[in-house]
Amino acid sequence: MTSLEEKIDEAKRLSLQITKETDDDRLMTLSVGPQHPGSGHFRFTIKLDGDYIVFVDPDPGYVHRGHEKMCEYRNHFQNIPHLERPVIHDSCNITYAYSLAVEDLVGITVPRRGQFIRALASELSRLSYTLYWLAIYGIFLGHSTMFMWPAGDRELLIDLLERLSGARVTNAFNIPGGVRNDIPYNFKEKCLAQVNYFEKRLKEYDNIFYNNPLVRQRTEGVGILTKEDAIKLGVTGSVLRASGVPFDVRKVEPYDVYNEIDFNVQYMKTCDSFARAYVPVLDMRESCHIIRQLLDKMPESGDVREKLQFNIKSSPGETYKRVESGRGALGYHVVSDGTPKPYRVKASVGSFRNLLALPFLLTGSKLGDMPAIYWSLNYWPVEADR
């Protein structure tokens, strides 16, 4: 196992070589994306020496919308619907961090029932995102059944979120001060039934996908990101936990009601693509436990939202709040100058941080490993571009 420095040196040497030998017929430059079934809204240029990738240059930005600039022109409530756009499948988590930051700046406490409900919404949202991610991982490996099953089971959670918030994916449910509305009648029973059914389905995913010897052959021992390298590259979320660091923001820095919930941080020590693909599934099991506990411990009645003025003014200052999203720690650095609009918003998103591991892992691997490594990084191109 080469260390990070050696690998970086090697990559630099190779890239120098490549710039020198641009006319060399030995290397073939392939553009993966943006119109490629294996890339998403994203492009990376790879150079191939035979079947080996010797150089990778990511080029994100195809869906850059400038959310950080847009935030400066809108007040805190107007910011919620457009901030969730980068990851509409995980919308409750991506607005959660912003809501926490704004609440910290304004200095309010969310009612207890509201805290439970938005934790519940964000767990459902995380499940729905992870299923979508898993579906794409399945089809990236050429496993069409694994594409259809999670995409179909995701409908259950989407239905729950629809009952909860009225929208299927773009929920805009977690807002500064709590949640937009109370849970509907009969939601608890429906939610429990769906989650119980969903847990059974997770076992079937194991049988058809994760225990399949061909999937194991393709993912085990591929794209090894050791603990040291993971720490140095500052990756987060399932990528970090697959490299043996039990870091989960819900556990290490519990926000809202997560300190009352009993759950484990799931991590693996094999550091390969298989671990990165399997840790989200372990996380989904934990999420099911968390949802059951949240439903159990939720106060029967009470406010769900601290009523705020539409143009609420926050005190001047800055804050950095983070939550655990489907792709890892998601932090919002919000600077306020005392006006209703934020002065500067910076989103530190998991995808953008995990992107750094892509050239590191792909350099030196085979072209056939490219989808298995790329999508195991839990990278969502739209979120990275913002």
Partner: protein, 433 residues
């Protein structure tokens, strides 16, 4: 888009085609038939049974089944019928079409979806027709810098090569297009052309993804052709013939798969690789190289290549049945006469329905069992697509070179030991003939 109106209905589309056919028929009756008759008026016609053979007389003679059936009987034994219709192209294309539809429905059921549903009222049975029409009407885009003659020729070569393999597959005793003595070798030799066509096409399309796909197809050929040949070798030893019909006849009592289970397995895996189906669809791996060597195909070029690959699927399933599953042999379930007593009766209609003189119970039974076995093998090939991911190229090469070749030798030695030990074979204790 844009050419399809929002109120487009497939039913209306079919109805318009039916109208067109009716109009053409009406024009034919009203205009063209009179012209033919006028011209026949000036042509000297032959005399049959003392009567001038006018078209009316010809048709009224043809109505009598005792006259029609011999003509049909003669026609179905001509080479052109065999090559074009029954054991040949049309039959295989029909099976290919059914296979595509069944594959889509089967995969859909496995994946908890419904599959094709709308075209043709009942479970979308006309979906394939709709897709074919769509492909026909699509623009064919030739990439700039493409090697045009090869680019245009390759799909046609692909289909005709697949049809050439189909021509070697006997569906019943004597029912084969080309009954050659070196049938097995010929089949392997023709199958060896496919990666070459893929490579030519990928080179001709002047693009990077097809090029990688073509090279992958070539690698796959070399890794899997050898176990493919070797797994068929003990079959040849057992039946001491290369003729596919003879190989099938040698298994009338005892199927080869009971002696050669490992070889049957290797043959099955290798034929999956030959067909470029999941888990061996590396030349078309869409998440790595877009669509592999098919990236630059458009419209009917793509349609032809798909047709060719499903013809190949039928051919290889048929080959598996011939080599290992006893060919067309199975219990006789068809009666001696289709309608009992029809042979003795003088009613022309009953004779017509009983297909007297055409209906051969043994041949029909053979075709039936051959079809049943082939469909079972095709099903096995289809199911694998639903439960497996794509394999990686180095694992594929490793599997081909190290594992499958060794496995074929195990069974080969077992068969040789049994023969030299005098247990099976021509003078053995147990006769498998």
């Amino acid at each position: 888009m844009g050419s399809l109106t929002p109120d487009f209905r497939f039913g209306n589309f079919v109805a318009s085609i039916v109208w067109l056919v009716l109009v053409v028929l009406a024009l034919f009756t009203v205009l063209i038939l009179p012209i033919i008759f006028f011209s026949l008026f000036y042509v000297p016609l032959p005399i049959v049974d003392g009567q001038v053979l006018t078209p009316y007389l010809f048709f009224s003679m043809m109505v009598d089944p005792s006259r029609t059936l011999p003509i049909v009987q003669f026609f179905i034994h001509t080479d052109i019928f065999r090559a074009a219709i029954f054991p040949g192209f049309a039959f295989a294309a029909l099976i290919a079409a059914v296979t595509i539809f069944v594959e889509r429905k089967l995969l859909a059921k496995m994946q908890l979806r419904v599959g094709p549903l709308y075209a043709g009222k009942v479970e979308g049975i006309f979906q394939l027709l709709a897709d074919g029409l769509k492909l026909l009407t699509k623009e064919i885009i030739v990439p700039s810098g493409a090697d045009k003659p090869i680019f245009w020729l390759a799909p046609i070569m692909f289909v005709s090569t697949a049809a050439a393999v189909v021509a070697l597959i006997p569906v019943a005793s004597g029912w084969v297009v080309a009954d050659v003595d070196v049938g097995l070798i010929a089949a392997f030799a023709i199958l060896g052309f496919f990666p070459l066509i893929a490579l030519l096409f990928s080179w001709a399309s002047n693009s990077k993804y097809p090029f990688i796909g073509g090279l992958r197809a070539l690698h796959q050929l070399i890794a899997f052709e050898i176990p493919f040949f070797l797994s068929a070798l003990p079959v040849v030893i057992l039946s001491s013939s290369l003729n596919l019909s003879d190989i099938a006849r040698s298994q009338n009592i005892f199927w080869n798969i009971f002696i050669l289970p490992i070889n049957a397995f290797v043959f099955f895996i290798s034929s999956l690789a030959e067909l470029e189906r999941i888990p061996f669809d590396l030349p078309e791996a869409e998440s790595e190289i877009v669509a592999g060597w098919l990236t630059e195909t458009t419209g009917m070029i793509y349609g032809l290549i798909q047709l060719g690959s499903y013809l190949k699927l039928y051919a290889l399933a048929g080959l598996f049945v011939i080599l290992f599953l006893g060919g067309w042999y199975g219990p006789q379930i068809f009666p001696q006469e289709l309608i009992p007593g029809a042979h003795e009766s003088n009613l022309p209609l009953l004779q017509m329905l009983a297909l007297d003189g055409l209906y051969n119970p043994i041949t029909v039974n053979s075709i039936f069992w051959f079809l049943v076995k082939t469909i079972v093998v095709i099903f096995l090939m289809l199911i694998i697509r639903g439960i497996n991911p794509r394999i990686r190229i180095d694992i594929l090469l490793h599997t081909g070179w190290y594992k499958l070749i060794v496995l074929t030798f195990i069974n080969l030695f077992v068969v040789l030991m049994l023969i030299y030990g005098g247990i099976i074979g021509p003078e053995g204790v147990i006769s498998i003939r």
